[in-house]
Amino acid sequence: MDVNQYLEIFIDEAGEHLENLNTQIMNLEQDGENMDTINEIFRAAHSLKGMSGTMGFKRMQTLTHDMENVFSEVRNGTVKVTTEMIDVLFRCLDALEEYVTNIRETADEGDNDNEALIKAVNDFLANAEGKESGENASPKDSASAQANEAPSEAPASDASAGSNDKHKWKEIKIGNVEKGAIEDAVKEGLHAYGISVYVQESCLLKAARAFLVFRAMEDLGEVVISVPSVQDIEDERFDKDFSVIYLTEEPLDKVLSAIKEVSEIEDAVGDKIDFSQTADGAQDGGEAKKDSASEADGNTQGNAQAQAAEKPQAKQPGAGQAKKAMGKPIVNRTVRVDIEKLDSLMNLVSELIISKNSLVSVAETEIGQSSLAFNEQIEYLESVTTSLHESVMKVRMVPIESVVTKFPRMIRDLSKKLDKKMELYMTGEDTELDRTVVDEIGDPLMHLLRNSADHGLESAEVRAKRGKPEVGSIFLDAYQDGNNVVIEVRDDGNGIDVEAVKKKAIEKGKITEEQAEAMTEKEAIDLLFQPSFSTAKQVSDVSGRGVGLDVVKSKIESLSGEVEVHTKLGEGSTFTIRLPLTLAIIQTLMVIVGGEKYAISLGSIQTIESIPISEVKTVQGKEVIYLRGNVIPLVRLTKELEVESMNAPDADLLILIAKKGDRYAGIVVDEMIGQMEIVIKSMGKYIGKSKLISGATILGNGEVALILDANALI
């Protein structure tokens, strides 16, 4: 197999699985009993193992395999989750990440065997084994047997372990007619088998698989009875298994292996059917006979014994089965697309809209007047292109989740490394930003978090002295604010010591003492964002080398965003990143002012009021309204935008109540069109800076509408 073409997919998916594992193992640490988490971990580890195996990355496979064993024990409840275990698992993830990095760079996993890690992992298993040495089946062995399961072993273990459950064909009621036919066939030298086929749980096209199984069987013989019926199977009206009574000249093994060759078939089991009730020499004949004989009078003793013997193991096959079902991940309903392709798609859609618009204008003038059908089609085209446009735009937006999920893990590591207790609280992970922006903000955020952990939070003793809780808190909050996405990194640590910053700056010769005297607090804090400036007393490998904040600032500025700092000595500091929603989609209210359409971010609007002109008062020459106990100044958009209102002067006023901080304003508009989701477009640099206008958008009909910044009006 030429694996190179899959390499990219492998790297992507491996990255995803690792990220998932990271998150889930964090969860596991919190709640070691949560089966969902454990199963999810298991699934991810298993997929990772399978993938690396397929691609021939043996070291990666070995490591994941051993990790999987640990997870398996956790799931079986034989091993308890401990902090040490989590530590080791995280180190395993790091090692895996290293493999993936190597693969990305050199298409080879490298030659680090990570023996120490593998040993550490296996130690957990050894401990577990030791604890339950009395039990008949060592969990590790059975787990690895399950995992390594060679196809040849499968039927044997299944036949012994699950004969009662798996041989569902025995439940088939064989009518007299069929029985006669089978007996005739047997007399002619054919074999009659009862076969049960199990489709993998993850299989999506069960009917198609079943069809392939039937075709395989019909090549070799004849299906006499099928349960469920062939029709039901074709219509996919079956769970995950079906059973048949089957006539063939071929030996059972050959039939079963033919069935198992069909992909996504988990298992197939079968026995010879013998109505004559005479002993048959075949290896599985005896049991089959017993079973068919016992159909009427319940279990024979032999069967009961078999059952009893299986009991202690009962959990094991069950787990194995579940694991096998999970072997293939539930198919991802996502497609990876190159961002450039999306860009070109978006441009094409825009072109389409333009040409549609010209069609619309043609329809309005010449041909359209005479043809109703033409007009209808144009309208339909219009709605289709509009939704197409919207969909393509939305595709580009991704939640920042993909970036921030790795942070809890990072904080955990930092906590150990710095020997400080800290906890990260995140909100707003679902805040969406354009893909290109999301890709870029990871590093700046990481810097800020490290900064908070290292410089911000005090050591436990200092915290105790100050009466703060021992565990420091770092908050990462993301939310949309008007036309911006705001990401705040906040800590309840020491805050920035402005005097120390000034002193350091003087030491470094960046400012003179006189300058320092004259500096405001804000200016002093801005010093922190200068290159190679660090107030850390010593350089640690976490931060303090003086790279960081300046990088954060330049990165955010390159995304046309800004960074602000608020700090209070002794109480903590807040770094606020404000990113414009260039290309972002926001919910807006479309309004008409003086015949022109404008969009106002819905986020800044509290309520919409219709107020008779008589209720407008003046205070110090300014128009205000008195609404629910608040005096709200009015802003006439017609005046701000230098247009004439289309409404009669005595008509009721349509007022949007906007809020900024604790201040309100009533924005007077002529007319309201309604709520609309719009894509913010940059207007480029040649438009000049306008205070009121924060951007523009293209409406479904191709028209440009401007976006009003409500904050600038308050």
Binding site: I354, E640, V643, Y686, G688, E703, V704, A705, L706
Partner: protein, 157 residues
């Protein structure tokens, strides 16, 4: 805007292509290297609070592009919209901008030796917009320095 001229070979017979446009009664040349597109006059969305020569923004294939009245920018009277009126889209320093012109005629080759540098008239506030005059037989076209018009400082590498 020297670097837009094809004078790399120092051959004075080397020619540069200009798009020949008309403002009022005179002909001007814009280097074709910065011309992205030429579109018909279309609906322009006014941008309140912008400079008076900015007519607003248009939707150009899904991009929002500001549109200048080149007449107003050059200190001329605003002209009325004609059948021949076009918006010539320029890409300067990575951003697009449209210029409303009265007519776009053709693409012309102007040899370097035929370009006469403009005498700098300090009483004319728009003097810096003018790069020189191109002589094409009997015809003269004023070559515009769009970087100056747009106030963009281009750093030469």
């Amino acid at each position: 805007m020297d670097y837009l001229l094809n004078n790399s070979s120092a051959d004075s017979a080397e020619a540069t292509k200009f798009v020949k446009i008309r403002l009022d009664k005179e002909w001007y040349g814009i280097p074709i290297a910065i011309v992205e597109n030429i579109v018909r006059m279309q609906r322009i969305t006014r941008v309140p609070g912008s400079d008076f020569w900015i007519k607003g923004v248009i939707n150009l294939r899904g991009k929002v592009v500001p549109v200048y009245s080149l007449r107003l920018k050059m200190g001329m009277e605003e002209g009325e919209e004609l059948r021949s009126t076009r918006i010539i889209i320029l890409r300067v320093d990575g951003d697009d901008v449209g210029m409303i012109v009265d007519e776009v005629r053709e693409v012309v080759n102007v040899r370097n030796e035929d370009i006469e540098k403009m005498y700098y008239d300090s009483t004319n506030p728009y003097a810096s917009y003018l790069y020189g005059v191109g002589k094409m037989g009997d015809d003269l076209i004023t070559l515009l320095d769009m970087f100056e018009v747009l106030g963009v400082k281009v750093q030469m590498n």
